[in-house]
């Protein structure tokens, strides 16, 4: 699944480790999501959307 996580994170000047700590996941998980290797669960996708104050559809593409 494609997503804009890396771009959104870079716009805010956040590191993967900082984003991981905020979302309570490992840095490896952030990296895997950004590279499209792992699709997050719906609860995690909601958490990401809340953090960036955006809708899930604006971050993740089907």
């Amino acid at each position: 699944m494609k997503n804009r996580l890396k771009v959104l994170r870079a716009e805010r000047d956040w590191t993967q480790a900082q984003l991981a700590a905020e979302l309570e996941v490992s840095r490896q998980t952030i990296n895997a999501i950004e590279k499209g290797k792992f699709d997050p669960s719906l609860p995690l996708a909601f958490k990401v959307a809340r953090l960036f104050k955006m809708s899930i559809e604006d971050i993740f593409e089907g």
Binding site: W14, L19, A21, E22, V25, S26, Q28, L44
Partner: protein
């Protein structure tokens, strides 16, 4: 940026504590296993009461290790849980299928040595380790 957590006492710190706790329980289990196994030969000269106590202690610590492992797994994030699930499923499947085939080889005398349970444990350990290693590389 500064409003983000630094995780000094957050999820990652908790996960480290869970991992360390699992490590202590595992070390204690291995140690009591060695004591229960070698004790009768080298320490208490086959005293049955002490041997039974040593096995009971090992069993009790083993259950503690299982609880610590469950807590560790529940504390992982969803990708890590997925990796663990795949590895455990693969090692269980390989252990069952290859283990029973190996046992059959012994039953019908196609191998000249006894099929030991330790061989199965080694096979499952190697399968689990390989699976975790492969998944870690896949999601790197």
């Amino acid at each position: 940026m500064n409003q983000l957590k630094t995780d000094s006492d957050g999820w990652q710190a908790k996960q480290k504590r869970n991992t360390a706790r699992l490590g202590y329980w595992t070390a204690a289990w291995v140690l009591t296993m060695a004591i229960a196994n070698f004790g009768p030969r080298f320490a208490w000269e086959s005293n049955e009461l002490i041997s039974a106590l040593a096995i009971l202690v090992n069993l009790g610590i083993g259950f503690g290790m299982i609880v610590a492992n469950k807590r560790h797994l529940k504390g992982l994030d969803e990708l890590q849980q997925k990796i663990q699930l795949e590895a455990m499923g693969l090692s269980l499947g390989v252990g069952l299928v290859v283990g029973l085939a190996y046992s059959n080889l012994d039953v019908v005398n196609l191998i000249s040595f006894d099929a030991e349970i330790s061989h199965l444990v080694i096979l499952m350990g190697l399968t689990y380790s390989f699976s975790v290693f492969a998944a870690q590389r896949r999601y790197r």
